[in-house]
């Protein structure tokens, strides 16, 4: 049994312009110890999936259909209290806005200890602080910064503190939503390296959400490409990068520069993402696709298996 099974998940937001279908019919599995990266441009629904997994959708957001099975149990059917108890202990999150993810008026060490204490009442405050010390060692923050406040930390240290916090309860799954976007590339590289090592050390499952395809390629062994609320291609890293099937994946790969790869011209993707309040009936990428067929704009695309475990939502594949 996979650690996490997401089945036909659709999520929407009530907005002034109408019901926005942010995520539609997304299905994927995640094995224990595996890492899955979601990549796609802003507004494609990556973060919404992360929030739904944590049960933290904003008040105007709701799951319309589907199941989220965490260790076989549907989290969508849990009560708030049941969900609260598995949050952080079973699955933790590294937030997109790590710069503001720490409470400015509390000491960093205490904020991390709080996560430990709330999930294990048998732990004493001192023991929790000892555990926080270990976490600080693990992520490389000097121990004398334990009693500092967040504003005394640099951006990279805040990010490390947030990672330490995510590890505090030894969760099975960590959802990392753009964890390094606000950092400069050098710190970003260090932190990504640390996340990768920690993943191995603790046999963590990671869902990595990023708009940066090179980071996802570096971090994850499975890739999910998202476009306009849909998962359009999903498979092992090598499969998706070496033989991309969906036209959007192809376009995405050729619109990113690589440092080490061969020199080639960047090709921007023309057009704009479709309106998700009234999404097109057919393929959502149709308008921007390089070679659509006549049926593309009228018929919803079907999943096609490219290779074992590698599938794409495109009728041209």
């Amino acid at each position: 049994m996979a650690l996490l099974e997401v089945d036909n998940l659709s999520i929407g937001y009530n907005t002034k312009k109408g019901y926005l279908k942010a995520v539609e019919k997304v299905s994927f599995d995640l094995e224990a110890g595996a890492s899955l990266g979601f990549v796609g441009e802003s507004g494609c629904g990556k973060t919404t999936i992360g929030m739904a997994l944590m049960g933290l959708l904003p008040p105007n957001g709701s799951v319309k259909e589907g199941r989220i099975l965490f260790e076989g149990k549907n989290t969508l059917e849990m009560t708030d209290e049941e969900l609260r108890k598995i949050r952080w202990r079973e699955m933790a999150m590294i937030f997109q806005a790590a710069m503001n993810a720490l409470n400015p008026v509390q000491r960093v060490g205490n904020q991390i200890a709080e996560a430990i204490l709330v999930h294990d009442p048998s732990v004493e405050k001192d023991q929790a602080m000892d555990q926080v010390e270990n976490l600080f060692r693990l992520v490389g923050i000097p121990l004398d910064r334990l009693r500092d406040y967040p504003h005394q930390y640099s951006g990279g240290m805040k990010q490390r503190a947030v990672i330490a916090m995510a590890l505090a309860c030894r969760p099975k799954l960590i959802i990392a939503d753009e964890p390094t976007t606000a950092l400069d590339v050098i710190v970003q590289d260090q932190i990504l390296g640390e996340i990768k090592e920690l993943q191995k050390e603790f046999d963590l499952s990671i869902i990595f959400i990023s708009h940066d395809i090179s980071i996802v390629a570096h971090m994850c062994d499975h890739i999910g490409v998202m476009y306009a609320g849909q998962l359009v291609e999903c498979g092992p890293r090598e499969g998706v990068f070496e033989s991309p099937a969906h036209p959007y994946t192809k376009a995405l790969l050729s619109s990113f520069p690589t440092v080490t790869g061969k020199r080639s011209d960047l090709i921007p993707i023309p057009g704009e993402t479709p309106n998700l309040v009234v999404p097109p009936h057919g393929c959502r990428f149709c308008d921007r696709c390089s070679g659509p067929e006549a049926s593309c704009s009228t018929e919803p695309p079907q999943w096609v298996e490219i290779a074992p475990g590698h599938r794409a939502l495109c009728c041209r594949c």
């Binding site: 609260r84 598995i86 949050r87 999150m93 806005a97 993810a101 400015p104 709080e114 709330v118 504003h151």
Partner: protein
């Protein structure tokens, strides 16, 4: 250590501000219309006597000299004699100041605490009935005309029901009774304080409630609240330990800012309830052209406001580590 530096800096600023106030007050009184001498001068007084009085009061000196004398007197604690009472101003001030401070600080602390607490509850039930009732209630009590509110309270609770005294701060029978101990005297003052305190409380708590409510609503959108929720904390813990301490910061600032304005209300309240405080003394001394007393009252009020502001600043630094470190 940083906190000490911060407080020192604030104290220096306060001393400078106080100097400015001192000078402005001096000029203000010299420029104000109305002749104090004519107020004091008896129609039967001879021209000579009147001139002697002017010399006695130092009013024949040039303005610059008067200013120097004024500063010297201030620093040596000589505030002169009240034209109206004939008593030393210092005695009058020391007699009135504690009464004002008592009423003033109690009402500020009470309305801030209640306002913060209710604002927190209102924001938590945003859009629900509790929220609407509190918000509307706060708006009504905050915008009502203070003397009117004071008179209504007197009319209902002192006149109609006779539950509280109509005015004053003490009952003579309690204070003249040698048997009465500290507790019964304190209770007597508290009993007299209920209505003026309620007036000030009703006027002020609404502002704090509204500020706290909107500040809470902003804070609840912050990322660290999402973190707290993701950590699996209980909603109550999120509200009280993560949101409220951050949301209360703007309230503390506004307490500091509103202190000066509360003085107006304080003077009105003291006048309506004949509470023997600085505010009432200020109003009457100004209308009687009682220079020395009015000047001293203004200075005292400025001092009270500045010191309360310092307290608020220190409190702010204590609550917000970003200021402290």
């Amino acid at each position: 250590m940083e906190l000490r530096k911060y407080i020192t800096k604030r104290i220096i600023q306060i001393i400078i501000i106080f100097f400015v106030i001192l000078t402005v007050l001096f000029l203000l009184f010299r420029l104000a219309p109305g002749d104090p001498v004519s107020m004091m001068v008896d129609p039967d007084m001879t021209q000579e006597d009147a001139e002697m009085l002017i010399v006695q009061l130092g009013l024949e000196q040039p303005l610059g000299m008067q200013y120097l004398i004024y500063l010297k007197n201030f620093f040596t604690g000589h505030f002169g004699f009240s034209f109206h009472y004939g008593d030393p101003v210092v005695d009058i001030i020391w007699d009135r100041l504690p009464n004002t401070v008592l009423l003033f600080t109690t009402s500020i602390i009470l309305s801030a605490l209640v306002g913060v607490f209710l604002g927190k509850i209102a924001s938590w039930h945003k859009g629900k009935k509790v929220d609407s009732i509190m918000t509307i209630g706060a708006l009504v009590t905050h915008t009502v005309f203070l003397p009117w509110l004071a008179l209504i309270l007197i009319w209902i609770f002192a006149y109609k029901f006779g539950w509280f005294p109509i005015n004053g701060m003490i009952s003579e029978e309690v204070w003249l009774d040698p048997e009465a101990g500290f507790i019964s005297r304190a209770l007597d003052v508290m009993y007299h304080m209920v209505l003026p305190l309620s007036t000030l409380f009703l006027i002020h708590f609404g502002a704090y409630l509204l500020i706290m409510r909107s500040s809470m609503l902003e804070t609840l959108k912050e990322d660290y609240i999402l973190t707290a929720r993701a950590k699996g904390l209980e909603e109550k813990v999120i509200r009280d330990h993560h949101a409220a301490p951050n949301a209360a910061l703007p309230v503390v600032t506004s307490v500091g800012l509103s202190l000066a304005f509360s003085i107006n209300g304080g003077a009105l309240t003291e006048t309506v309830f004949t509470w023997p405080g600085i505010g009432r003394e200020l109003v009457s001394s100004v209308s009687q052209n009682d220079y020395p007393l009015a000047q001293a009252c203004f200075l005292m009020i400025a001092g009270v406001v500045l010191i309360s502001n310092l307290v608020v600043d220190v409190l702010y630094a204590y609550l917000d580590p970003r200021i402290r470190y």
